[in-house]
Amino acid sequence: MTSLFEEVPTSVDADVPTTRVELKLNGETRAAQIEPRLLLAHLIRNGFQLTGTHTGCDTTNCGACTVLFDGQPVKSCTMFAVQANGHEVTTVEGMATASELHPVQEGFKDEHGLQCGFCTPGMMLSAKALLDENPNPTEDEVRWALSGNLCRCTGYQNIVKAVLWAAEKMRQDGSAGDEA
């Protein structure tokens, strides 16, 4: 879609209102004109075409759609996009810089914390939120923090190891607790 051209339905239902939403997405201010019923996950995926945020269950259970909302993990499949107006949203695409992976991403690869990869973005964002608040979590604290994210492949053991690996690396790098 560009400003030069946008096809519109031939039989416009005049009663469908749209609204403007503006948010900071992975550090960049973005805006869109949307139907109020659009879910945040779909704004991110279909609107802004950041498809790393997955939708798994549509009912806030599986956590594949987890994004950080003002730094807190939320399930974007059961939030309206309009609720993000004026807020900061971080998706998996916002975790790495051009040259460097986030330690959580490195940890997931190094400890074989993923198999099919579908739950991984949400899982990593929940892990990042934990480590941003608690740089030195116990295994139980990691397991509890990830208990809103389902994985069917790994059995979680390597995911937990991956998060502890990342915590260790962040403490060594001195990046623990830094909110970039």
Binding site: P9, S11, V12, D13, E35, R37, L38, R45, Q49, L50, T51, G52, T53, H54, T55, G56, C57, D58, T59, N61, C62, A64, T91, V92, E93, M95, A96, L101, Q105, F108, K109, D110, H112, L114, Q115, C116, G117, F118, C119, T120, P121, M124, V142, R143, W144, L146, S147, G148, N149, L150, C151, R152, C153, T154, G155, Y156, Q157, N158, I159, V160
Partner: protein, 792 residues
């Protein structure tokens, strides 16, 4: 010098996964991530009732919604002879219902619209007038004399029996039972479960009228089978069909069958000449797509007083739902259920199976399982524990008495399979040592004095993984071989394609390791592609742990063909005859002159620039591999648990796993597979099942009701290994992806049953929910998990 195989990422390297580079960046490419120009969106309207006659469907209000492009009904499908489609088990399944709905969630209509929200609006605007009929969810009730006929669409179908099947030696088994000192009996139900990958099913059909080409992006574990099925069902020419399975968000058997949604999206695209995307929601996935298990056992073991098993009798009933849509080899009606007791030395066995129709969703897929072996091994290990208890024998000793000995191979199983390798007793002993068996038995007795209930459960099993051989294994007549194609480029880099389809198993990493092992090309120089039927060689796909046993073997074989040709080129470059050439990893050299050699990369360059006379240029080949036998990994899983007598809640104290899957290509990935499998085993023992109320409403239709374990509940696992190479596989590997799911549940259940043994309870059906365990403790009676019988 020969290369260091681990350094080049060859066999045995715990190489970090290549595919992770995109997944950790959110750059995976799943079906729902694919966007095509002009794409429309489809949503399916499903039946709210389990059994009802459709009197009328009114779509006019849906058509009135702006943005709705088409509404499809059974009538429209029937006009094109597509209202019904064949299943993978020679039955038929409704694509969109015409006459009746036969399970809750059955596909009734579909709306194609400009966006998925409008498509959902359209579904809500469709008015279907149903005349309710009596639903049946209990298989015993399904075969009662007065049961309503579910499949009245089928000619000559006068009852709800799908088939009767038997295997084994009936008379011989009767004789064994007549001679037995003790007969141990147990009744079990392996409940219906759902594989439930986090990604549901979906497709994007894109028919191009100008070229007649149909391209379908699809969540499929077996894209080539789908191409063949679409060619036959939709009567489209096979060369004009391209199925692309991009990244899959898990499969576990759920993504083997062809589902109505795929077929409807294809017809919609043909009719509208636009790409049509269908993404199933979670409820649709749970209530309509391939389930696993749902088999009842009436089992008996003929025993001698010294613990020797003389014979096995298994009478089983399987609930297939409304359509017999099991994904399994055609010769075996109930998969490989008769692989039961393969690890034990038992002279005779007999098994019957009756399949029945009920008003439930169809499927019967191999849920992380090689075709019903999960039920087989669960039944086996529960029967074994019950028998040991019956004889008053220690459960480990009872197994030791009956396990096949190392020097007995090759050995016929009681039902006639041929096992070829293993060190069963060694695995068992390793497991017992690791868990501290004798110490735990003492702890258990101590705990008992304080009113605490501890238990230990063992599960030992070998299972048949990696179908075929093609003599015995086919699906719809297509033989179960697999394939690989390898192209080595002139700079020594390569692309490998296979007929398998990874869905988390890490093929992009491990297949390159096999090539590295065979050719000495570093794994990082090999790219692996799967899932596109226009480019990948024909193969039967990934399920039943068949990738490494079959496609993985094909990767070895094609690499060896490449090496054989490279040898000729090496001889030419070194100016000696073929016979004077020796091979070491990554390099040919002249016999007796080790320093005179050429690398595989130099041979690759010469294949395109300096080919000897009479040899065709290039360095490419393919291999189709038909394995001589299944592979037979062995596993010993031992769980210890504590049951809370106040609540019926049980906790896993430890889980020790000993797996012998032969040679491990990538130990890190193998261990990942085992831990994932153990988690699904724990899930089935503890919480995960799909059941129905008496009206046929699916209980478990979303993740609030269908419980999957999280990181919080899932116990830690302790892994151990034994390596007995497979004698017929080119690199000695066996299947592994499913062992833990197959063997694991019995370890947990046996442990809980051991903890409550003193109450006299002999069985609680899975999942061992706290209320079931509590009821058993209170009543001292077995607890059944069978679905309700409807009072009419």
């Amino acid at each position: 010098m020969a290369l260091d195989e681990i350094k080049i990422g060859g066999l045995g390297a715990s190489r970090r996964r290549v595919e992770d580079n995109r997944f950790i960046r959110g750059k995976g490419n799943y079906v729902d991530d694919v966007v095509l120009p002009g794409m429309l969106h489809m949503e399916i309207l499903r039946s709210p009732l389990a059994h009802a006659r459709i009197k009328s469907i009114d779509t006019s209000a849906a058509y009135a919604i702006p943005g709705v492009r088409m509404v499809m009904t059974g009538e429209m499908m029937a006009a094109r002879n597509l209202a019904w489609m064949p299943t993978l088990s020679y039955d038929t399944q409704a694509v969109l219902a015409t006459d009746k709905v036969r399970f809750q969630g059955q596909e009734v209509a579909a709306v194609i619209a400009d966006d998925p929200y409008i498509a959902k609006d359209g579904c809500e605007a469709i008015i279907v007038d149903y005349e309710p009929l009596d639903p049946i969810v209990n298989p015993e009730q399904a075969v009662a004399a007065d049961a309503p006929l579910i499949r009245d669409d089928k000619v000559n179908q006068n009852d709800n029996v799908v088939f009767d099947w038997e295997v084994g030696d009936r008379e011989g088994t009767d004789r064994a039972f007549a001679e037995a000192d003790v007969v141990s009996k147990i009744k079990l139900h392996y409940p219906r479960s759902h594989p439930s990958p986090i990604e549901s099913c979906g497709s994007i059909a894109d028919f191009d009228r100008s070229t007649s080409k149909l391209t379908v992006y699809m969540t499929s574990q077996a894209p080539h089978i789908v191409r063949a099925a679409v060619a036959m069902v939709a009567e489209l020419p096979e060369h004009m069909i391209r199925i692309i399975a991009p990244d899959l968000g898990g499969g576990f058997g759920n993504k083997v069958p062809v589902y109505p949604g795929y077929v409807i999206s294809i017809l919609a695209s043909i009719l509208l000449e636009r790409p049509v995307k269908w993404i199933e929601d979670k409820t649709g996935n749970l209530i309509s797509t391939g389930f696993g298990r749902d088999v009842y056992l009436d089992g008996e073991l003929a025993l001698r007083n010294d613990g020797k098993i003389l014979g096995v009798r298994m009478n089983t009933v399987s609930d297939h739902g409304a359509f017999f849509a099991d994904a399994q080899p055609s010769k075996f009606k109930i998969g490989l259920l008769h692989s039961a007791f393969a690890c034990y030395d038992i002279p005779t066995a007999y098994l019957t199976n009756r399949g029945v129709y009920t008003n439930k969703s169809p499927g019967g897929v191999a849920y992380r399982c090689s075709f019903r072996v999960t039920e087989a091994m669960f039944f086996q290990e529960r029967m074994v524990q019950a028998a040991a208890d019956e004889l008053g024998m220690d459960q480990a000793e009872f197994r030791r008495v009956n396990l096949v000995k190392d020097d007995d191979f090759p050995k016929r199983t009681p039902f006639g399979f041929l096992t070829d390798s293993g060190q069963y007793e060694k695995c068992l002993q390793l497991g017992l040592d690791a868990i501290g068996y004798d110490d735990f038995l003492k702890q258990k007795e101590e705990a008992k004095k304080k009113g605490r209930l501890l238990g230990i459960g063992i599960s030992t099993m070998t299972e048949p993984l990696g179908a075929g051989n093609s003599r015995e294994y086919d699906i719809l007549g297509i033989k179960m071989f697999d394939s690989a194609e390898l192209r080595v480029h002139m700079t020594g880099k390569a692309i490998l394609r296979t007929g398998a389809k990874t869905q988390g198993q890490g093929h992009e990493t491990t297949w390159a390791q096999i090539v590295a092992h065979e050719l000495g090309i570093p794994a990082e120089d090999i790219v692996v592609e799967e899932g596109d039927t226009d480019t990948a060689p024909f193969g039967m796909g990934t399920y039943a742990s068949r990738s490494t046993p079959v496609a993985g073997a094909a990767v070895s074989m094609v690499s060896r063909k490449i090496r054989a040709k490279a040898r000729k080129i090496a001889a030419h470059l070194l100016e000696v005859s073929d016979e004077d050439i020796e091979w070491e990893l990554g390099r040919f050299y002249v016999r007796g002159a080790h320093d005179r050699g050429v690398t595989i990369q130099e041979c690759a360059m010469a294949a395109y620039s300096n080919v000897p006379d009479g040899l065709e240029p290039g360095l490419e080949n393919n291999a189709y591999y038909d394995p001589p036998n299944l592979t037979w990994p062995f596993a010993c899983y031992i769980a210890t648990v504590e049951v809370d007598p106040q609540t019926g809640v049980w906790d896993v104290l430890r889980l020790v796993a000993v797996d012998d899957c032969g040679v491990r290509i990538n130990p890190m990935i193998v261990e990942g597979q085992i831990m994932g499998g153990l988690t699904e085993a724990y899930a089935m023992a503890n919480m995960q099942f799909i059941t129905f109320d008496e009206d046929g409403n699916c209980v478990g239709s979303n993740y609030m009701d269908y419980l999957l374990p999280t990181a919080w509940e899932t116990p830690g696992f302790e892994l151990h290994e034994v390596v007995t190479p497979c004698p017929h596989h080119p690199i000695g590997a066996k299947g592994i992806g499913e062992c833990a799911t197959v063997g694991g549940p019995a370890a947990f259940v046996n442990a809980v049953m051991d903890a409550v043994k003193d109450t006299g309870v002999r069985n609680i059906d899975m999942p061992l929910l706290p209320d079931r365990v509590y009821e058993a403790l209170q009543t001292g009676q077995d607890v059944s998990g069978a679905p309700p019988v409807r009072n009419r």
